[in-house]
Symmetry: C2
Subunit: 203 residues, 2 copies
């Protein structure tokens, strides 16, 4: 009899393995070139097997993106909990998002700039957008107590636009194109985020 344990016909958690391996691949090479076949092979399974767990390549990408969202938001919760005042919470949220995008640029691309968000965002991702929205809305409401909801919503949108836009441009290494002098990148980030937060607070 063989010493090696025969690999079982049914495996423990193929779906999870695919998401994890897929996430590693995306982190290394980006989502564009991710192939269901190659991914299947890399986890040691036949080319058709993933389709038992994902209807589409798109569904697989969606699962990977959602996996990324859970990480992002657990980090965001930690930051929010350790903030002492609303302004600090807002700046922390912005810088936290920046850090996440910097640490996981390819994953962020899948989450925020892929076919999952175009032409309009995938319904399955809407819930996560609302969580992110709340992470800005609550502190801002606290910072600007007497402010009607419509105005608050606009300011949240403007703030999120700034944070998202800056993070995206930075991910593409376009900050050095705009700010050619040898300013420290972190300093530029801090200035930009605080500028946006202050604009949102004072209107």
């Amino acid at each position: 009899m063989a010493i090696k344990a025969e690999k079982p016909y049914h495996r423990e958690d193929l779906r999870g393995d695919l998401v994890r391996a897929g996430r590693e691949y995306v982190a290394a090479n980006g989502y564009h070139s991710l192939s269901v076949r190659t991914l299947a092979q890399s986890v040691g399974v036949s080319p058709g097997a993933p389709y038992r767990h994902f209807s589409d390549r798109r569904a697989l990408l969606l699962a990977i993106a959602i996996d990324g969202y859970t990480d992002l938001f657990s980090a965001a919760r930690a930051i929010n909990a350790s903030a002492h005042d609303p302004e600090e919470a807002l700046i922390g949220a912005g810088l936290g998002y920046l850090e996440f995008v910097t640490a996981n640029p390819r994953l962020a691309e899948l989450m925020y700039e892929s076919e999952l968000t175009s032409p309009s965002i995938d319904p399955a991702l809407l819930e996560y957008q609302h969580i992110g929205q709340a992470a800005l809305t609550e502190p801002l409401r606290a910072a600007v107590p007497d402010c009607d909801e419509a105005e608050l919503a606009i300011r949240v949108l403007a703030l999120w636009s700034s944070i998202y836009g800056f993070a995206t441009l930075r991910k593409r290494q376009m900050v050095s194109e705009f700010v050619p002098h040898g300013l420290a990148s972190d300093e530029v980030a801090r200035r930009t985020i605080t500028l946006a937060v202050h604009a949102a607070i004072r209107g």
Copy 2:
């Protein structure tokens, strides 16, 4: 002899025809599903012909994107010329970009959110980024005369982050998610852009 004019073996401007047809396709269906073969067929040419003019599918997409940039910047020049003061020029630039993205969402996706910009922006597109940068830098310099260049660059970056971020979120129809009340979309846009412009002017 045939009444129809035989179609010539060599055509006038296949490259241009491919770019035009490609742009139409992208506008209608997005760049993701654009296929070189199908595009070749749609302009009545064999599947290999496009490769005489474009080394890659990517090179074709690049040409389509550049075609879009020329349109965007010619519109931007017109707006800039008709502005009466720097603040008006900045707001006009922002709203002009918004209009372009709203009118050409799929094309904007190719220009600003495709594999051409990821992981870092394609060198062939850098020139166009500089043009866009200048369209904000000059009016802002005029609006804030005594401001050193580094500070000016940071504010331009912050302003462009806001404009780009807002336009992108709006393209994904996420504005209605953030601002659920029946506020007119144009009103939200105007408020957001002016907010960003004022923040950039006063620091």
